[in-house]
């Protein structure tokens, strides 16, 4: 078997005596492709994220049907959850466009959040819907114990017909050996079912995943545009500082990205500078805002209830 493979490689090697630059590149390319084929990566599907520099660092795009690790301080902010939500929207859009070709329509998404302790909080449908992700797609697996959650992961990923599986591993103290085995098992299951898996949690020394990211909120303000632009709703659109620490077949990347909800795609944030913490806070609501009218003291009379509900109980001064 080995002999035939070597012969196979040898047959692809061009004539060695007059090696110039072009043939050398071709030779390396063929060899790489062949190794990838032996590695079982020939049917690799990928989804471009829409940011050119990031896509080239990912060797064409985010590999589907693989395990990706998105690390960050899950309990201090929701940047990782936000980034993975936007990634899911991108994935759903990608599948709906290429669904027929890939013979795979968008299925449900299983999310195993660590909402029990610490403070990451439960997924909130209104916020996800405002971001653009339909909460009806989510099947939430809510287990406080991270070890049981991760033990169930293999079973979930093996299921056919899921679009993506997101698992948060926060709070699990295991050896790197354990992680390696878990990663390998999950990777095999993901390849079998063609489900894309995202593992979210604090940075750990784990290997075996397709890509490893570090996601932090982007502490940026747009100095170029000036204060007036800050009050625009765009200034609240999600922005992250992305570090691609490892990507199979790709290279490291560091940059800033945002999410354009209207267009449903990632945007590169250039021209932004880190915020100066010494400067005065910028408020988009006027500090001397409108005097808040005194709400009428609620009387439990049935006739005034609808009026009450409509006007004075729920008002927004934004």
């Amino acid at each position: 078997m080995l002999v035939t493979k070597q012969q196979d490689i040898a047959s692809k090697i061009p004539y060695k005596n007059n090696i110039n630059c072009q043939t050398k590149n071709n030779y390396l390319k063929n060899l790489k492709a062949h190794i990838a084929a032996l590695d079982g990566q020939v049917s690799r599907q990928s989804m471009p994220l829409g940011i050119e520099s990031l896509d080239s660092a990912l060797a064409g795009g985010l590999a589907l049907g693989r395990v990706h690790m998105l690390c960050g301080m899950m309990q201090a902010h929701a940047a990782v959850s936000g980034f993975v939500s936007c990634m899911l929207m991108r994935l759903l859009a990608h599948l709906s466009i290429n669904g027929k070709a890939a013979d795979k329509a968008a299925g449900p998404i299983v999310w195993c959040p660590a909402s029990g302790h610490g403070g990451a909080g439960m997924l909130y449908g209104h916020g996800l819907a405002a971001l653009g992700l339909d909460p009806a797609r989510l099947l939430i697996v809510d287990t406080p114990n991270p070890v049981r959650r991760m033990a169930a992961l293999d079973d979930i990923v093996r299921t056919n017909g899921l679009t993506a599986v997101i698992a948060e591993y926060d709070g699990m103290q295991k050896s790197s050996d354990h992680w390696m085995r878990l990663m390998r098992r999950t990777q095999l299951a993901a390849e079998a079912s063609q489900t894309t898996v995202f593992l979210l949690g604090a940075p750990i020394a784990a290997s075996g995943c397709e890509t490893m990211w570090h996601v932090a909120p982007a502490g940026l303000v747009d100095n170029a545009v000036g204060d007036a632009a800050i009050s625009a709703p765009q200034s609240w659109r999600p922005a992250w500082e992305l570090t691609l620490q490892r990507a199979r077949g790709g290279y490291r990347f560091h940059g800033y990205a945002g999410w354009d909800a209207a267009a449903g795609q990632f945007v590169e944030l250039a021209g932004l500078v880190p915020a100066q913490t010494s400067e005065l806070p910028l408020y988009d609501a006027p500090i001397h805002h409108l005097p808040v009218p005194h709400l009428p003291v609620p009387q439990p009379a049935a006739s005034c209830m609808p009026h009450h509900v409509a006007t004075s109980q729920h008002e927004m001064w934004a």
Binding site: A76, H77, A78, A79, S85, A105, G107, P108, I109, P113, S115, G121, M122, Y124, G125, H126, G127, L128, A129, A130, L131, D134, P135, A136, L139, I140, V141, D142, T143, A152, D155, I156, T159, G161, P217, G219, V221, I230, P233, W236, P238, A261, A275, T277, E279, P281, L282, Y283, A285, I287, V292, H294, L295, P300, Q313, H314, E315, M316, W317, A318
Partner: protein, 520 residues
């Protein structure tokens, strides 16, 4: 004459509904009636013995009943519960004979005890035993034994004595003649017409020529008469009990080793799958039970998201169950019973969620996944989220169990901000179940915060929007619940938070600050 010997007992329960109420709630000394709207007015559908003593009767208007008895308690009449009780009683009566039936129209049960009397001595002692047991259960009974269904029915309802027994055919004919016409199970309009003609008793029409009666009232009257006297055969359709689907395993030696317990569970799963297959049924709930040598029993339930009988599925669901069984000194008997069974239908539309995959095979494996996760992680661990129409952030989302019978909601609430509604108020993507208290520095009491301390870290705020004022649900919230002013803030690291001030300073309320959620 009847062609074969028959011995029919009819038991009438005049106060079945009242007995159910007395059984389930504390005993009151007030008369009670059960009312049912008939033709736009409330009428008495059933009453209790005490109310009957006041002169109340079935069919009376509620207003008349109240006039007779001012301390009357009224309940709404539950016909379905009566039917279920009668069915239970008919099943219970199978201890006397395999042929029993419930008479739902007249609150009674039939028992055909022909050939079974000797097991209890004779017919009279059988009836005495039956009456004693029913009275001990708190039921008032009227019962009669006769050679025909019709005679037993009439005697039980209208005989003077609560227990009547016809020793022979002549005796039965005599007793029947003395009964009112209603004992023939004929329509009230026919009874009224006969009474206008001066005919009140069954004996009165027995002597009448038959042809004019048939011409005037149709053949129903005479057929009932013949049925009562046994000139026309009448039978009832006996009730058929549902056989429980149960498999059992007894061990010659008590088992305690974990491997043996696992093998026991696997064996029961195998047998159950085979039993379900042969009976053509699928179960939604399985009960695994075991008995230890010290007679202690235990059981576990395994829920399925839809009826199933697949052997592999049962094996997977039961895979971890054996570990949770504590055999102590050993298990000597184990059984598995299928509940909520239904005839198996192929999966055509397994889950009506939007989340469910469109492909049938994928939908099946998705449903199986839900089953496995529920079996593995517990019943409340697998959820869907649904919007609720409430402006209280914590009440605006509910979690529901994924269920195949998830019917579409009538007026579904919408997610705020869905469809890129930029006018919607901002909502975080993760919400804390219990808001965390934070220390806040603000320029003035009603200003947005300038910085806050959470988890011993200082977050300097560079951007803030707000306030969005959310008042409590004043008609349900306890007194003293304050309005909240919500702010969306961003700290110098770029993290976005949803903070609120509990209490309005401009109203003179003391304010406290909380962190409630995180934005993307």
């Amino acid at each position: 004459m009847a062609a074969t010997y028959r011995h029919i007992i009819y038991i009438h329960f005049p106060y079945l509904a009242a007995a159910r109420i007395r059984r389930n709630t504390a005993v009151t000394r007030h008369p009670m009636v059960f009312v049912q709207p008939v033709n736009g007015g409330d009428r008495v559908a059933a009453c209790c013995p005490l109310a009957a003593r006041y002169g109340l009767a079935v069919g009376m208007r509620l207003a008349d009943a109240r006039a007779l008895c001012p301390t009357l308690q009224t309940h709404s009449y539950d016909a379905a519960a009566d039917r279920a009780d009668l069915r239970h009683l008919a099943l219970w009566a199978r201890r006397y004979s395999p042929l029993t039936a419930s008479d739902e129209c007249a609150n009674g049960i039939w028992i055909d005890v022909a050939g079974a009397e000797h097991l209890f001595g004779d017919g009279r002692s059988l009836m005495a035993d039956c009456a004693r047991r029913l009275r001990q259960a708190g039921l008032r009974v009227r019962m009669a034994a006769a050679t025909t269904c019709g005679a037993a029915w009439g005697l039980a309802h209208y005989a003077r004595r609560p227990v009547s027994c016809c020793s022979h055919d002549k005796d039965m004919r005599q007793k029947l003649s003395a009964l009112p016409l209603a004992a023939l199970r004929i329509e009230p309009s026919v009874i009224a017409a006969l009474q206008r003609a001066g005919l009140h008793m069954i004996g009165d029409i027995m002597t009448m020529p038959r042809a004019p009666l048939t011409a005037r009232f149709g053949d129903h009257l005479l057929r009932r008469l013949d049925q009562a006297y046994g000139d026309v055969q009448e039978s009832f359709c006996p009730i058929e009990p549902v056989q429980p689907l149960i498999v059992q395993r007894n061990f010659s030696e008590p088992i305690a080793a974990p491997s043996d317990v696992a093998a026991m569970v696997a064996y029961l799963a195998d047998e159950m799958a085979r039993l379900l297959y042969h009976s053509g049924m699928a179960a939604r709930r399985l009960e695994l039970g075991w008995q230890r040598v010290d007679s202690g029993c235990g059981h576990k339930y395994i829920h399925l998201s839809r009826p199933s009988r697949e052997r592999d599925l049962l094996h997977r669901l039961l895979a971890g169950v054996g570990d949770g069984i504590n055999p102590e000194f050993g298990i000597e008997t184990a059984w598995m019973q299928a509940h909520e069974c239904s005839p198996l239908t192929p999966v055509t539309q397994p889950l009506r969620h939007m989340a469910a995959p469109t492909d049938a095979a994928d939908a099946e494996s998705y449903a199986n996944l839900i089953d496995r996760l529920v079996a593995r992680l517990g019943y409340g661990a697998v959820l869907h989220i649904q919007p609720l129409a409430s402006w209280q952030p914590e009440a605006a989302q509910k979690t529901v169990l994924p269920d195949p019978a998830n019917r579409p909601i009538k007026n579904p609430a919408k997610w705020l901000g869905s469809g890129h509604d930029i006018t919607a108020p901002p909502r975080p993507i993760r919400l804390l179940a219990h808001p965390h208290p934070i220390d806040v520095v603000a320029l003035l009491p009603d200003h947005p915060p300038a910085q806050f301390i959470w988890q011993r870290r200082i977050h300097k705020i560079i951007k803030a929007t707000g306030p969005e004022r959310i008042a409590p649900l004043w008609w349900v919230a306890p007194a003293g619940t304050k309005s909240r002013d919500y702010f969306r803030v961003q700290d110098d690291n770029g993290a976005r938070f949803w903070l609120y001030r509990d209490g309005l300073p401009e109203r003179g309320e003391t304010a406290a600050w909380f962190l409630h959620g995180f934005f993307a």
